[in-house]
Every structure is written in structure tokens, then in C-alpha cells.
Amino acid sequence: MVKKWRQQMKRWMAEKLELPADIMMDLPRITMVGQIHIYIENHRGLLTFSDKELRLLLRNGQLLVRGEQFIIKTILPEEILLEGKISQVVYIEEEKK
């Protein structure tokens, strides 16, 4: 109850005060350069990685990137730069409890 209320409060502030949503609500910021680069900030860790798939843990849910010839160019605690031929970026939402 309190959690939900706080979430709504934050969303309201982001809208009214024009604060960046990714900072206020702890959302990932994803930057893509065509098909070849994807840069994800604010992730919560690596789940699976292969040359065709990258699965990242987010604050609520997961991010799935599909493609070919994947290489993680850089990985830092909250940032990741992926290189390859990207075909899909999919959000997997956590089931509501």
C-alpha cells in the first residue's frame, strides 16, 4: 500500500516538476545506435548472456535483447554496452504479486 502510494507520488513529481523519469523512478535508460550498439544504464546485473541473447535484471522485471554476434564491450555496475546485430529488445514484466 505504502509502496504503491510512493510510486504514484514519484510519477506525479516527475510529471509536474519535469524531472527526468529515469532518475526519479529508477528506470533503465536505453540508447541504441542503429542495430549495432545498445547502451543500457541503470541495470541490476547480468542474467544470461550468449552470442545471440542478453538478459538483464532491472528494478522490476527483465530486459531481453536478441540478435547475433553479441559482445559485451563494457560492463560496469550500472551500465552495459553491447555490440552486435540487434533484432529485438523485449521487456519482460514481473508478475504482479
Binding site: 546485473g45 547480468l46 548472456f49 553479441f70 559485451i72 564491450k73 563494457t74 560492463i75 560496469l76 555496475p77
Partner: protein, 395 residues
Amino acid sequence: MKNEWVDTLAGSVRVKAEGKGTERLINACVRNGIAVWNVKKHSRDTATFFIKLSDVKRLRHIARQSECKLSFVGRTGLPFFWRRAWRNSGFWLGLLVFIAIVFLLSNIVWNIDIEGATPETEHQMARELKRMGVERGAFQFLLDDPETLQKKLTERIDDITWVGVQWEGTSLHFRVVEKEIPEPKQPVPPRHLVAKKEAVVADLFVEEGQPLVSVNDYVQKGQLLVSGIIGAEGRTKFVPATGKVFGETWYKSTVVLPLETTFHVLTGKSIERHSIGIGRFSLPVWGWKKPPFAHTVIEREKRPFRFWKWDLPLYYERVIVREAEAVKRSYTWEEAFAEAKKIARRELRAKLPEEAAIRGEKVLHQRKESGKVRVELHYEVIENIAVPQPIVQGD
């Protein structure tokens, strides 16, 4: 982001992780602050990635808690390059040869420039220098030091009044001041000739002026000998008096000579020793022989080695050990007196001008003291006693 250059300089290694949960391993690395890059998955259970060389130790800690087997498959960067180079004997040889060459070239005379000399003098100097071993390509430590060079050059070349010798890095710099040919005489102002000291006039030679003394006149110091005022009364003319007035002058000298003296004389035999040293310690290079001389005079000459443009603490030393001999000289009384007279004459000669002549010598006193002779002598000398004195025209 990260800087590729820094990684290259610091060195990086490629890690191969095998086993389940390679992703977890990477997560753990990242959380512990190990930078990871170029992660590649080769199959389901193998991944490779790069980490910094300085992070390898920390990675071991983390790896122990994971289920992966780690192996290092590649090394890049400067530290590894250095290690390879270090083991390479060719690299060492090259470095050594390079240092040796620079060292050798630093100790060579590269240039000799002569400044301020006319072409003829310059040529003469170059020839003289060559004879002393100073030429392009000669080793610096085998040459004489600048002071000696300076002395030798001034002695051997007549046209030089002064020569400055200076090292400027690997080049030897000579600054020459040549003798100037005297300029034509300037017109002499009117003057008299007066006596330098008391004397009896022995001869007169007057080119211009009115002689006021004649032969056998006794003159005192400062007395007018040749007047610069000529012509009859009322129609006088001022001229610069020139000429020579030879007068008989007298000198007295005393010589004391001991009958027996011992002194050291070099016999001409010598041994040379060469060594290379640092500080007080010196290593002989050539000449280990012990000199078979009883009495020696030792000459030392130190010359620092140079590297690039600096003097090294290393130096080259040449020691010349010369044989000396103690000579005892003893005179009989007669010999001592004769010798004393000779000495007195020599001393007087050195004091007198070139054209003066010693005409007579008289022994005033001759005494024997404890082991010494004492001789007092009187000389008659004929010399030019005329000195110019300008005429002050009171107007």
C-alpha cells in the same frame, strides 16, 4: 567510459571462464569494481573477457566463490612487451652498444674552431695543433688540458699574443689575439734628452738637437744632454731631440754562495701509468711495473670521461713517475769565488738593456763565512743614458 590507452600501458589479460554461471561471475566482478570488457560467449559454458592486469589478484578471490574454472589465454600491453624485451638478448646487446657508442662519441673531439686569426695564422695553428695530437676524432682524455695547450701554442707560434682555449661540449674553441704590427711612428713632439742616472759620457750620437755635453763630462741624474731648442738667439726652433748618449755607469752587487749544495735532478727516465677511477678508487689499465727508481717525482693528470655533455664521476688518470737523483755540488774556495762572479755577472746582464756592455769588473770584497763565500763586486757599464723629456712650451 574507459581509456584504451591506459589499459595498453597498464597491461591487460584475457580470461577464459568455463563452467556454469559465467554470468554470475561477471556480475560479481563488476560489483567488486573490476572493469570487464569485450565479453564473448563461445558456447553455452565458456566465455572470454578482458580485465586489467592489476585486477588479476582480486579476480582469483572472486573466482574461488564461483563454479567456473578460469584460465588466462592472452596478455597484451606494455608490461608484457617489456618482459619479452627484457628476456631478449638482442635488446640488451643493442642497448649496451648504444650506450657504448654515445660514450665513445662523447669523448671525441668533434670540432675545432679558431676565431680571430688570419688565414695564415690559422693554418699554422692547425698544423701545430695536429702535431700536439689535437685534431678531429682525437680522444679528449688523451689531450693536454686547455692551460697547457694555451701555453704551448703561445710559445710555438710567434704571431700570437694570446690564445684562449675552451671546451664547449665536444668542440674545442680557440680565441686568438694576434700581434699587431707597429704602426708608423707618429710625429714626436719637441723634446729634450736628459740623463737617466749619473754617469761619465763615453760617446755621443745625436741625430737631431743641440748637444750640450761632450765626452768625459760627468753628468748627474736629470741633467740636460741634448737640447731640443736649436737655432741662433731670436730665431729658435723647437725640435724633438733624438740620439744616443752612452755613458759609463756603475753597479754594485753582492753574491753569497754556499760551498756545498744538494739538489734533485731528473735523470730523464720515466714510467707512465694509466688508470681509470671513480672517486678515490682507481683501477690500473696499463703499467703495473714498480718503478725501479730510488727517488721519484710524480706527475698526475686527471681527465674526466664524458657522456653526452656531462662530465662523469669516472675519470682517466695518467701518472708519470720520473726518476730523480740527488746531486751534491761542492766547490773549493777558488771555484766558489769564480762561480759567484759568474752569477753576479749573469744577474747584472739580465737587468741591463740589450745594447749595454759591461766594460770592467772589480772585486771590492771577498770573504769566507761559515761554509759560504761572500763576494762584493763593482761593475763599469757602458749604456745609453738618454731619456726623452718633453718641452713644455709656456704659452
